[in-house]
Amino acid sequence: MSDSIVEVRGLTKAYGKFQALHEVNFEVHRGDVFGFLGPNGAGKSTTIRILLSLISADSGTLSIFGMPLATHRREILQKIGCIVEKPDFYKYLSARRNLEIFGRVSGADISKRNVDAMLDFVGLNGRANDKLGGFSHGMRQRLGLAQALLHEPELIVLDEPTTGLDPQGIIDIRKLILQLSREQGKTVILSSHLLSEIEIIANRMVIINKGRSLAEGAVKELLNAEELVVTFEVNDGAKAIALLQQRPEVQVRELYDNRLTLQINREEVPAMNQWLQSQGLLIYAIESKRKLEDYFLKLVNN
Amino acid sequence: MKLVKIFLLLLIISTTVSAQDNGPELVKGVYAKMKLVTKYAADVHIDADIPNLKMRSVDAKVSFTQPDKLKVNSRSLAVLPKQGFADFGKIISDTSDFTAVKTGDEVLKGVKTSIVNILPGDPMGDLILAKLWIDPVQKLVMRSQLTYRSSGTVLIDYTYGSQKKYGLPDLLRFTMDIQGMKIPKAMMADLHKGKKEGVEKADPNRPAVIQVSFSNYAVN
């Protein structure tokens, strides 16, 4: 029996002539902290909005909890808590009132006690009766989490939850997500444009760029520490390239301004260093990144 | 023959003179009856049929004190003629203030009445002419036609009953011409433009008629 909570196949969406998503595929398993990674404008928010039925896909299938979203929207959304972009509440109402309003239509029976407990959980019980107009970004983010968790959903979708937070805020969110996953068995979909964020929290991920899914799988496998992209800063880059033509097994990524980038395994780095020196080259510096990290950074910078 | 002609001429002259002399006497006779009443109170039922004014019949109480103080107590809005109702007694009270001339006779509702024209003494006053149809036997006004400078002519028909002896009518019927009255256009709300065809409307040029029925008189 499939342990998939979310199955996305062939998801496509266009805004006029602009193709926002082109046959995106991925799967989220029960208990995953699933990273949804991509640069800005990759299609992450579009995908998440489709998942949450804020926008409709042009084609493709989307199944959540084993049910098609198109026909079981209500049952599905009852089990989902989410923050899409930044949480926007009713500024003229207090934190407590806002939670009561959203809790009332969450599909669960939310009492005042539940609301108070949740405000305490996110550290806002001291400001419960204050209007949101005076809340900082971090406080709103915490309140956003509170409304996402209030009805004890099985699946939590967080779109860039650490954006705009201070370092302590970021750490708090991370701890909370891990707690939800490990202690409460919740499934979390977390979208971000920061690989470091995904790497720390997520166990599985998909990389998306220009509306296409590029890589999907376990984070550890995708970010294989063994396969590296190593940059040697040498005194004569052209000579280095000419020398490496004698070694076709070595994958040369690029040469730029005497900086020679190779894709090699971790164990091969010392040997390559020695070989280049033995060929008369001077090595000024060695930098290494994991292959996927490098790949992702190129996507972001492009 | 000559004597016969002179006799006939004298007869005609004397009849004419007598006719002229009856005018003030007739009016005095009517007023004497009216003076028997220093005040009265009565229940009235007012029915008004006035162009451009729609209203249901109204029940009210009137009280009158000589010479012309009329008070109307009504829970509802009542419309009464401005002239010819409270002021009638005053018109005929001072015989030195007008000239009364009998101009003929007419039978009204089976009663032979004498027609008396009253010319007010004040040529600049509002009342221009009053024409009375008087029952000379009962000394009752059966009909009056009052012409005012400000409001035109009011025709009043009198019907008497239990209070005949005081000259107090059971029914007064006022007919007046209020043509030329316009509704202020700016105040109108144009409901239902293009109203239903074929709906018969009362003639807007018809005269206004107000009927006042009196009952439960308390006299003096």
Partner: protein
């Protein structure tokens, strides 16, 4: 859950400061009118009865609470649509602008339920505004001026309605006035579905009212076919209850047209809102 959604929407309306603008405005406006009438009402009445006063005497208190109530309604009912649209035009687009629509639409509520809950709450708000107007127009007027027969100036002349015959007319008139204001509310909510900002639907609603009112008042044959179908043509239908006799057929016709507008507008709103991509 639909009931809870309606309750939520009403709380949002009740706690938004803007919602009280209408109530305050009505209070001030009615206060001004009643103050003016208390000081100089007889001059105003004299203008109406001037045509008759040469020959007729009006006995009784014309300047009474019922007449004041009627005058207040007559003057203010054309301004109330703006006060309604200020709130109802903001119901969808205001949330879109604020970003909270995104949060609301991820609840297990259908789009239709979201829209209808706002419609019901907007309808309740409209009712309350009208109720307040009625209280100020009739209640306060009768308190200040006392009861009495109502003298109404219609296009075919003055009508005197007995005071015992007036209250049911006001109630019925309010009923049909509510339908016309509900049409305005529905129009603004529909326009709100097409916008992501607060002001647009409100201005658009007023613009449509002005345009239709203009078409209705231009007595040219080219608009003859369209005029009876415009909702603005029927917004004065409440006054028909103050005719004698009451033209029930005309009132029924107006009510049907207004209800048809509400149904069609709601249909358009539902169709669009269900398919709308919520990008805000």
């Amino acid at each position: 859950m639909f009931g809870k959604a309606i309750y939520n929407e009403f709380i949002k309306i009740a706690t938004k400061p803007r919602s009280y603008l209408g109530l305050v405005a009505i209070t001030v406006l009615v206060g001004v009118i009643l103050f003016a009438m208390k000081i100089d009402g007889l001059t105003y009445i004299g203008f109406i009865t001037a045509g008759f006063e040469q020959s007729l005497l009006f006995e009784g208190d014309i300047l009474n609470g019922n007449l004041m109530g009627f005058i207040v309604l007559q003057m203010l009912i054309i301004h109330v649509p703006l006060l309604i649209a200020l709130v109802t035009g903001d119901l969808i687009s205001g949330e879109a602008a604020m970003g909270s629509l995104r949060m609301l639409a991820t609840r297990p509520l259908s789009r239709t339920q979201i829209l209808l809950s706002k419609f019901v709450a907007g309808g309740l708000y409209t009712f309350l505004i009208l109720l307040w107007l009625g209280f100020m127009a009739l209640g306060v007027s009768n308190f200040m001026f006392g009861p009495g027969d109502l003298l109404v100036l219609n296009s075919d002349g003055l009508v005197v309605l007995l005071q015992d015959d007036v209250f049911w007319r006001f109630l019925s008139g309010f009923g049909i006035a509510y339908l016309s204001l509900l049409t305005i509310a529905t129009l603004s909510i529909t326009l709100s579905c097409f916008s992501d900002n607060s002001i647009g639907p409100i201005v658009a609603t007023m613009a449509i009212i002005m345009l239709f009112t203009l078409i209705g008042s231009l007595d040219v044959p080219v608009f003859d076919a369209v005029r009876p179908l415009l909702f603005t043509t029927h917004m004065a239908a409440w006054r028909s209850f103050f005719e004698d006799p009451v033209d029930y057929e005309a009132i029924r016709n107006s009510a049907l047209i207004l209800v048809a507008h509400i149904v069609v507008l709601l249909g358009i709103a539902t169709y669009h809102f269900k398919r709308k991509d919520i990008l805000s």
